[in-house]
Symmetry: C2
Subunit: 649 residues, 2 copies
Amino acid sequence: MGNADYECPHRVAIPPSKPLFKALQSSFKETLFPDDPFRQFKNQPLAKKFMLGLQYFVPILEWAPRYTFEFFKADLIAGITIASLAVPQGISYANLANLPPILGLYSSFVPPLVYAMLGSSRDLAVGTVAVASLLISSLLGKEVSPYENPTLYLHLAFTATFFAGIFQASLGILRLGFIVDFLSHATILGFMGGAATVVCLQQLKGILGLIHFTHETDIVSVMRAVFGQKHQWRWESAVLGCCFLSFLLLTKYFSKRKPTFFWINAMAPLTSVILGSLLVFLTHAEKHGVQVIGHLKKGINPLSVSELAFGSPYLSSAIKTGIITGIIGLAEGVAVGRSFATFKNYHIDGNKEMIAFGMMNIAGSCTSCYLTAGPFSRTAVNFNAGCKTAVSNIVMATAVMITLLFLTPLFHYTPLVVLSSIIIAAMLGIIDYEAAIHLWNIDKFDFVVCMGAYTGVVFFSVEVGLVVAVTLSLLRVLLFVARPRTFALGNIPNSMAYRSIDQYPIANNVPGVLILQIDAPIYFANSNYLRERIQRWIYEEEEKLKSSGQTSLQYIILDLSAVGSIDTSGISMLEEVKKNSDSKGLKLVLANPRSEVIKKLDKSKFIESIGQEWIYLTVAEAVAACNFMLHSCKPNPAAVELQGRENMV
Amino acid sequence: MGNADYECPHRVAIPPSKPLFKALQSSFKETLFPDDPFRQFKNQPLAKKFMLGLQYFVPILEWAPRYTFEFFKADLIAGITIASLAVPQGISYANLANLPPILGLYSSFVPPLVYAMLGSSRDLAVGTVAVASLLISSLLGKEVSPYENPTLYLHLAFTATFFAGIFQASLGILRLGFIVDFLSHATILGFMGGAATVVCLQQLKGILGLIHFTHETDIVSVMRAVFGQKHQWRWESAVLGCCFLSFLLLTKYFSKRKPTFFWINAMAPLTSVILGSLLVFLTHAEKHGVQVIGHLKKGINPLSVSELAFGSPYLSSAIKTGIITGIIGLAEGVAVGRSFATFKNYHIDGNKEMIAFGMMNIAGSCTSCYLTAGPFSRTAVNFNAGCKTAVSNIVMATAVMITLLFLTPLFHYTPLVVLSSIIIAAMLGIIDYEAAIHLWNIDKFDFVVCMGAYTGVVFFSVEVGLVVAVTLSLLRVLLFVARPRTFALGNIPNSMAYRSIDQYPIANNVPGVLILQIDAPIYFANSNYLRERIQRWIYEEEEKLKSSGQTSLQYIILDLSAVGSIDTSGISMLEEVKKNSDSKGLKLVLANPRSEVIKKLDKSKFIESIGQEWIYLTVAEAVAACNFMLHSCKPNPAAVELQGRENMV
């Protein structure tokens, strides 16, 4: 009891350990219910609870009673605007997925209706998305050729959509939405950029009027396919494509400069389709190498429940496709919904959104739709058009329904090259190189993750890009824990604060005392590292003191403020550090161990071995105690112990 | 500039950002060279540098000049003791690996010599290990039957050993030794216990004298194989086995009670082998169902370089087996070496050890040895026998060499059942249930990891156990980052310290101010969670204040002391939190951002948006500033802003 004379001003509290069940319960709640969704249910009568529960799962019940005619006027305009975008985009993306074009229209009818009832975003416009379409064609296309066996391919696409829905809904119901968080912003940025690049490259087929094309999506294969059949290029198609692409890009540029004219940009795709169709119809260009959509069946979505291919030998690839497209759809959709909610300052519940996405895809897979999500472009148009609630989705669905019932024959002469131009124009907006530069400026590692995803997608495949980016992101987290920073602290003049000497060069060393701060939980992954690093700190400090002839080192204070947790390997590490410093005649002192840490140190008897009186609430108090011991006549208790031991030997 | 009147006592330093190359260099050094191995090379002449470098890679050059006769006497005794253990253990483990028994002796000859030159541990006794032997038989046995094609199996075992050596040495040379750290103590404990259980179960074959047995290692298959052929059980074998097992366990128990008689335990296996062989020789029990080793070739290790099967179609399984056994061997060996080094208070360099292990396995694979590592049992005997340096390994190797040259015929009549008893007796010591109970008491999660590894190995397979345990361990790290704890802080009476109210119930709330501490780096994996959780803190605090009629909430102080790092997703999260609190009329204040964090906040202009004057060095100073603002006549600047905005609307 070396410092019995020194009165410690504050004791470090060792909270009583909770009973196992309670501890489990509270950590379960913190992990899965951080937003405490049940808080509004507390102290309510049963009927009210039921009503609130229903409103929780079907948000339309919550906001419909407050719906006004003013809102409807705004939603009507927004809905018609996005419908004019949805029809050509739907056909284009279905084409990209190698599915019948009509599926793009079907997919803009049923899913938006389901989302309007269950979704919590007021701005999200539901529809098919380019990246998921590309993924379906590349993942399913590997197994079943869409040209040789279109029916099986179609059925597998429905099945994949079904499993995507099941997966999305289960994530939401099991409150595992945080899995989506592991796709960091940088990952999504790089992945989307890469996918958009790949999608643009794929459109060279349509623009150049090629008939045969590669199934691969990487840039090398695509370029080989394009330049390997130069003699097949159709100049008529290429000229048409360039004209429409320029038109679309010009309108986009114009709308960006003058946001009030957003509708020009929104209407441009439909205008292109109408102009293109008229042109083909009048010039009979379809007989001169310009491919057209051809016959589209009239009528709304036929049921497709019986077409879900649960018994197919390709079921596993359908499930895989469903899970990958489902998680990508969710990641984009939830991120889009969340950003627009932040604009308008309302709250979106990620888990609820996942259930809504899942239900709309399950319903979609039974009604001849393929995977839908919340595309950014359509949502941005919806937002700019002034939508107020999800009713704009209902308006869009109605407009699409009218198209399906009466207007499909009009698309017979629509040239595929126009659809390709529409896709390219939309995709060029997704390649957000400015955001990548921003990442480079702020966080180099995020930039590396982003570029990893991008190059993985462009040069290898969509899955490779995703795996590379997620692995890099996780590696960063693991590296943070595996190689925590340690800092030597010094006293900030005129204060009781002790801060890193690196960050605050004005901070003063305390003679004879080495204060170290550890910056991460002490886990198995870093305990060996920390032991070596602490030894090196001590060695370096001793060398420095020796060469400058100052007081020799007597105390090591470990500031555990930033150590959130410890495991058994970490405790062994501390025990070894204590043993090592004892053998060198140094006294180990702990400052500010947190409740998790002190509980475990107590249970493992480490506190007994170090002595409760050598654990302080703050670094300042630890330093004061050390100074008191250093300057009182008594020698350092650890040194005395050591001497005693040496005498015994 | 709300608090322009208030003079901030200390500024938070924003360290200048390092040039990219320098930053990369320093983080590279911290990651791969935390022990700064080059420090002794600094300011030395070239010749000295060369000598030091040679000593670094061949430690025997460093300690051999200081070797004394006293040391040799101790090492001689220890070496002979471990040799008497090495011979029967070597034969037993080779049997377990389904390899020719003579390989066990070969493996105790060359590798110990290599290790003695390159290794840095003074206590480690080199030899084959049970778990790696089991792994070889289960991983290679899946591909090639050791009974039907013993030559190919043997060659694959050499090849696997070669790749294990290459893998171990490269880990060391590339300084990637920290990969082994990801096998936490709990993982190894559970894994070793499970493997020992499985090994014991396998010995039922030898004990019961069964001829046919399953290739599976899981408990269900083994039990089915044992009880499925009850009529094949040989009572002679079983009786012999039980007798020897009791003898071995009794000597072990006795030696444990009286550590000075450690040699009784060490000699027991050899005694059993001699007694068993004599018994069989005298009673001709080999003709009554007791299987014996049979003919062992005389002579030292033949070369096996030409037998490395690089061209084999099974090369990939050999590589896989090599990597798995190599990493398991390393994990056990380095841990064993490290623990004994801690006892004797000297330092072991993990990366250097890996190179030594790798070289000894490469050399071994060329001289008819299979995988060797540092078995715990043999090392403990070595330590107890009073070894001083790695010379005890040289003594052991010499003794084994003499056995190989002259004594192999003596093992002709050694019954297999004695070998099984030796393995069981060794394995029972490895099942460390007390350590598992210790884990349960201190850290429940570590216990779960341990049991995951154990049940995975026992009920499924060795690989499943390993994968389960590593996944669980990594999941824990990820969960720590994905769900960081947040705490409300209060003032500890009579101090400037602010601590978690959970841990220190005496801590006092500051009226009108919510102080939150975040306990982990703010990364993509937790930024959504933190946003929700901070919102909930604010909501709950407001509810509490409303119901108690106190001052309404005006300030939120985020204590970033424990936030070691931030990425772009984290910065977006802070921006959203600021936006949300602005919209509620709350002012966001930061306390003690660390150098990594403040640099990025500065680059991303977040500091500009929050105002440099709202960032404080300590929580106490932030609280003082908030209190000054609250009690001066001026209203809260954020509230003023908000009012202004509302007036504008």
